[in-house]
């Protein structure tokens, strides 16, 4: 690009490129603004879900302590054998300003006492409460994962857009403008030379 010949054709080409770069810059700015709006909307949610997770884990830990104290490790493990299962979680992708944002869906994480695989009259309330609290904690973990993954992905995309805006603003556009100015100056110089040559030629022919 640096050794681009100073022709009108190339000047027009550079003008086109500069226009395209300015368009891209506008687009990237709009994208960054939209992403920032989305990021701020998620930020509140992320803080709330993180807080809820900490509270749920604390409650679950206490419920488990009560269950282990009340029934002992053997009985709690026995109930845990029956309650084992696959966690039904599905992950899909949603496009937002061209970014693929993962969406995590789940259902039936928190089960009622009669759906945990054991006969609930034979299992102590403390053990059932611990199971319920840990199912809630698992749901809270999934909520945090869903929100924080979106948060990180959008945050990374904002960073990427900012870098691109900076490159356009500070490297590409100034470079194009410098080259355009160089070509313009060269063309003007050539114009002046032509005028001077024409004048000399006219003087000689007289």
């Amino acid at each position: 690009m640096t050794d681009l010949s100073p022709s009108r054709m190339n000047l027009l080409l550079l003008k086109d490129r500069e226009r395209a770069a300015r368009g891209a810059l506008e687009l990237l700015r709009s994208k960054r603004e939209a992403l920032a709006r989305e990021l701020f909307a998620i930020a509140g949610q992320a803080v709330a879900t993180r807080g809820a997770l900490e509270e749920t884990i604390r409650r679950a830990t206490w419920a488990l302590a009560v269950a282990l104290g009340h029934e002992g490790r053997a009985d709690v493990e026995s109930a845990a054998f029956a309650a084992r299962r696959e966690i039904p979680v599905s992950i899909s992708e949603r496009s937002f300003w061209g970014i693929r944002v993962p969406e995590i869906r789940w259902q039936g994480i928190v089960r009622s006492a009669d759906a945990r695989g054991y006969s609930f009259p034979g299992v102590a309330s403390a053990t059932q409460a611990a199971a319920r609290e840990f199912e809630k904690a698992l749901q809270a973990v999934l909520e945090v994962v869903a929100v924080e993954t979106r948060f990180k992905k959008i945050g990374a995309e904002i960073g990427k857009s900012t870098r691109r805006i900076n490159v356009l603003n500070e490297v590409i556009l100034p470079g194009l403008r410098t080259r355009m100015r160089t070509i313009l100056l060269a063309l003007e110089e050539r114009e002046r030379e032509n005028v001077f040559r024409m004048k000399r030629f006219k003087g000689r022919t007289r």
Partner: protein, 357 residues
């Protein structure tokens, strides 16, 4: 009845091994696990703590020591009893045996390894270690049921009978309900065969009272769990055990129909459980309230058995009351250890302990 006199004499000696009020108060005042473990090393639990070697955390070491101690105590009860007396002990130990078979079943169905299942069992002496290992090695519930039928285990046949209903939904609750019902029915039947502990003694015999009160407390807890989890059972009687004296089906249906736990407890309070239910503490956010209710019902069972042991010290009362006292002690110690581990507030811990000496 000389067997029972002998058993009661041995129980009297074993009771002396239980922690005293002073020892409890000392342990409760200790701030951390290492000091609790040190205090327990000075008690009858010391040898069990020492025997759990290896680099394990202090809480796990104490927990394992308590498990071994309970297992040893239950096995010892069977070892020192004979005749009708052994039959009475078997009825009481049957509750733990049902739990052991349930654990084996759950482990087999969930695909746990025999070693994993074995570590979750509390041997009672009704089955030795080799028998339990053989049970854990079975490939499926049918193989386990057939093995138990071959060994002429009382739970074998009911388990085998319940298997066809289990096959399609693979719902373990069907097998577990069948075993629970079987234990209570067999206990009631065997109680009629056993002679009363002391024919000259007036009033209630401890073994039938233990069984019927266990049925009542289990049924009450079942309907309370249904209220809390808003479970509407397809067959309401499927989860209820036969043989209770305090709550009949109508009373349990009335409790079940209550919209909230508070109203259900109020309804349950229109019975002999009025006093224990009226003295329940207010629900706390930190601990599951039903666990506190359950502890209160344990307290009822404990007090009733102690009363009978006092009235008829040569009957079945001392056996039931010793067992319940032993379990209370182990639960209390486990609860103190766990509370220290997670910094459970003292007030909440107090609701979960039974400090009656």
């Amino acid at each position: 009845m000389s067997d029972l006199f002998y058993l009661n004499t041995r129980l009297h000696a074993m009771r002396a091994q239980l922690l005293s009020r002073r020892e409890y108060e000392t342990i409760l005042a200790l701030p951390d696990l290492s000091s609790i473990a040190a205090a327990l090393r000075e008690s009858p639990y010391g040898q069990f703590i020492e025997s759990t070697g290896g680099e394990v955390p202090e809480a796990a070491r104490i927990e394992e020591a308590l498990r071994r101690n309970v297992s040893r105590t239950l096995s010892r009860l069977l070892a020192i009893s004979s005749g009708d007396c052994a039959e009475g002990v078997r009825i009481v130990l049957g509750r733990w045996e049902v739990q052991a078979v349930k654990t084996v079943l759950r482990g087999i169905v969930s695909g746990a390894s025999p070693a994993e299942i074995l570590s979750s069992l509390v041997p009672t002496g009704l089955h030795d270690e080799a028998a339990l290992e053989e049970m854990c090695r079975q490939a499926d519930p049918r193989a386990l049921a057939e093995l138990m039928v071959t060994w002429r285990e009382p739970l074998g046949r009911p388990l085998l009978r319940a298997l066809p209903s289990f096959r399609e939904p693979r719902d373990l609750a069907i097998l577990e309900s069948a075993m629970d019902r079987c234990w209570f029915e067999q206990a009631a039947k065997r109680l009629q065969e056993i002679q009363p502990s002391s024919p000259w003694a007036d009033g209630e015999d401890a073994l039938p009272l233990f069984v019927s009160l266990s049925v009542d407390t289990t049924n009450l807890m079942t309907v309370l769990k249904e209220v809390v989890d808003r479970i509407v059972p397809g067959n309401p009687d499927r989860h209820l055990l036969p043989g209770g004296r305090i709550f009949d089906t109508n009373a349990l249906d009335r409790i079940r129909a209550s919209p909230t736990l508070a109203e259900a407890l109020q309804e349950a309070g229109r019975s002999l459980f009025l006093r224990p239910l009226a003295t329940l503490p207010a629900p706390a956010k930190e601990i599951p309230f039903l666990a506190v209710v359950e502890r209160q019902l344990d307290r009822v069972l404990l007090r009733a058995s102690r009363g009978l042991a006092r009235v008829d010290p040569l009957g079945w009362g001392p056996l039931v009351s010793f067992l319940l006292d032993k379990l209370r002690e182990v639960r209390n110690l486990r609860m103190i250890v766990r509370a220290r581990l997670v910094d459970l507030p003292e007030a909440e811990l107090g609701h979960l302990l039974i400090l009656e000496y």
